[in-house]
Symmetry: C2
Subunit: 470 residues, 2 copies
């Protein structure tokens, strides 16, 4: 096990060098959060299909986890329970247009992860860093539990628990717990916990959680352990997943031909899967009604809820005791926590902003085509935490409750709508008569391979060097 | 699947070119025996430990199977359900002495399998080919069901069902069904089915089964399908193994610390495992009493039987309704088929020659320290199928029944005893107080990795190219 301990120490010191200016030490967090027994015990699995360019290489690492669909190289890192779905990596022969410049790609894009410790971390592959278009890199970075690196290159960063960094580049930054940031490129910045910040040349959107509210949901305690209702929620359902990892072949759910339920998704109770539905790795469905073209992405939970159709449930979103109309975008890490006597009812066409918490004390009804953000406990909270999309489109300056928006409202709304439709298309929500094929139709043919680390000697817990090519 | 079909065709034509002189066509056999559905469905698993030099590479192949412990490279081949246990490969730095010549090894020895189709085939790694000491190769070869390539390099050969080629080199040869050959080196020879032949400069031993007897146990029917009692025996127990391959972690048997039961061995009924016992991959134990230091090698079956201690059950041997004293060597592919009312009782120190069939119509008792061979149905058959080892040691020429022996009896008996003791030592049968460690003590720490072929497209059934290094 000596090599594994050395590896972890080496990562801590490298990240700390990058965050020196903040006087920040990732050591206590890593040491409090590392579960060595599980790192030694868990195995890794990766998916292989005939449709994804294949190149996987793992060396000097612990990769106790998951699925790496697409080209990915991991070196001197701990990638613990990660998905790293690389199915949107750019490919050789494509040309990227950047302003008036054209960048023809001479090789397939590869995700490279080096000297990093990523706890239960998703990495989605649509990189927006055009400076190194063939390499999507994550280096010298520590990412906390359920943090979400989505198409973002990273250098020398620390992401807190449940933090999301979306489609941008980040250099020597700290992103606080439950913060969401999508701001093109940031250098040497510390983002306060509970910040939701979207900024580009056309607009900026900002909301920050009140400290006492945030603390109830996500925080680190005095011994640097993640605590709060969101952690409790996820931890209490963790053991359910274990049976998925103890069998090679799972029972097949009654699923339409045009839909995919990932072999590592957990399906319980009376769950119904409609056509063109995509249920990803580590999604948790219990008494879920998944309407046509809906999806449940990695690390989502859909419990006692109905999704009418063409709904996007983005990474880490949780939908409980809720009824959703059609075409609703529930963005990253939302926590829609309806109760049996206090359901959440959301009208068609709504955009629930990333990291929104709706913890219903009473029944809550959200009218259609609204933008929703921040913390909502009651129907009355909607006053300060939502706005009609029609209204927003006409505005350039809005302050509602703790949210402030500057810029072109129409461009902002369109950007979200475009992304929403793009996700539906990619996922195959509109598949019909052999056309508009997407993940829901193609992921079915993945084969899963499973690998384990050395079980004895100084390399205990380290995986052998493995290279997989076509 | 196109590539898999092309691969099989290519192997057929290459092997046929090598066997041209015999007018032999492996095509009908391959085509009758290939179960494409299973090749597509089964996964492969390989073991990794901290103690074996690691280098595995699979390319352009279907390797639906097993465990490859040790360095092994497979290219353009079908290795279907094989074990390929490479744990006795020679290592860098060792020096091989050949007469007065010394060969220092500059690299670890590697098993290379190319352009070959090996059905459910074991390959054990103690190569005796000194011409290429760093490469143990199998090329342009087809090996039938349950055939056994044991430390033998092969070029352009066809091995029939249940044939064994032991510690030798074979070039452009045919080895008939259920034949055993250990003859140092052979070129362009066809060995008749049911031959047991051991020859070197000091002695030769030969026995050939009567055609009508052999036909009852192993043969090919007119459509080239393997048939007979041995095939039936194995086939009828095949489905029992399936659950081993559908779970990642198996229930742990109550096994002494100093013993190993492989995770892919099948244990049923009241089976007891003594100290220093080694139960290998794909061994089948049912109501088996395994005394101290006993082993059950790959593809063995031990049913309703007692092994008193320090017993070797070599690859493919079957022991049913039998009681064995101590230190009995049941060699490759023996079929000791006792019945409930007709048990087989074997005295201590016996050597049951490879490919011996004892199919008891009545209780059979074999006195200790005897050599036993050929077909035995009754107590009376022992007259023509056994000899006291003491007696044999004094002789240079013996003909008993259909067996003929020439050469130095003492050298012959000692060679078997030496090999027997060597197997016990390697397997850790004599482990005590931390000393004399062997496979029974070290195999416990293997981690198992599982891989699957492409599931769609032209490469369906072909595995991605995988390289595994330390």
């Amino acid at each position: 096990m000596k090599q594994l301990l050395l590896l972890i120490d080496r990562i801590i010191s490298r990240v700390n060098v990058n965050l020196e200016e903040f006087g920040f030490d990732v050591g206590p967090f890593i040491n409090a959060s590392t579960n060595l027994a599980k790192m030694l015990d868990y195995y890794a699995s990766y998916a292989v299909t005939s449709k994804h360019p294949l190149k996987l290489q793992f060396s000097n690492s612990n990769i106790a986890a998951s699925y790496f669909l697409g080209k990915c190289m991991v070196n001197r890192s701990v990638v613990y329970k990660s998905d790293v779905r690389g199915d949107e990596l750019k490919r050789k022969g494509e040309t990227i247009v950047f302003g008036s410049k054209e960048l023809p790609l001479v090789e397939d894009e590869v995700i490279t992860i080096r000297d990093s410790f990523l706890f239960r971390t998703l990495i989605h592959s649509k990189s927006h860093n055009l400076e190194t278009p063939e390499e999507f890199f994550i280096r010298n970075t520590v990412a906390g539990h359920f943090s979400n690196i989505h198409g973002s290159t990273m250098e020398g960063c620390y992401l807190g628990v449940f933090a999301t960094v979306d489609q941008m580049s980040l250099h020597s930054c700290i992103v606080g717990e439950f913060s969401y940031v999508q701001a093109e490129e940031l250098f040497h910045r510390a983002i306060k916990p509970g910040t939701v910040w979207i900024a580009n040349e056309s607009f900026s959107f900002q909301y920050t959680y009140q400290e006492d509210v945030l603390k109830r949901y996500v925080a680190l305690d005095e011994s640097f352990r993640p605590v709060g209702l969101l952690i409790d929620f996820v931890e209490s359902r963790k053991s359910d997943f274990e049976r998925l990892f103890s069998q090679v072949n799972m029972d097949v759910l009654d699923t339409p031909q045009s839909s995919t339920v990932n072999r590592f998704a957990l399906i319980k109770g009376k769950t119904r899967i409609g056509k063109n539905v995509l249920i990803c790795q580590r999604a948790y469905l219990e008494n879920a009604e998944m309407g046509v073209g809906s999806n449940a992405q990695e690390n989502t939970y859909i419990i006692n809820s109905t999704l009418s159709g063409y709904n996007v449930t983005a990474h880490g979103a949780k939908i409980i005791n809720s009824t959703l109309g059609e075409k609703i975008f529930v963005a990253f890490n939302c926590f829609l926590n309806g109760k049996i006597g206090a359901r959440i009812d959301i009208g068609a066409g709504c955009i629930i902003m990333p990291h929104t918490i709706i913890d219903a004390e009473e029944p809550i009804t959200i009218p259609g085509d609204h933008l929703v953000w921040g913390f909502i406990g009651s129907q009355g909270d909607l006053m300060t935490n939502s706005i009609s999309l029609d209204e927003l489109e006409k505005m350039t300056e809005v302050t509602v409750g703790s949210m402030s928006f500057h810029g072109d409202g129409k461009v902002f709304v369109n950007a979200f709508r475009k992304r929403f439709e793009h996700i539906l298309e990619l996922n195959g929500a509109y598949f019909t008569k052999g056309k508009n094929r997407g993940h829901a139709q193609s992921d079915q043919s993945a084969s899963f391979n499973m690998i384990q680390p050395y079980r004895t000697g100084p390399n205990r817990g380290i995986y052998p060097t493995i290279t997989i090519e076509p």
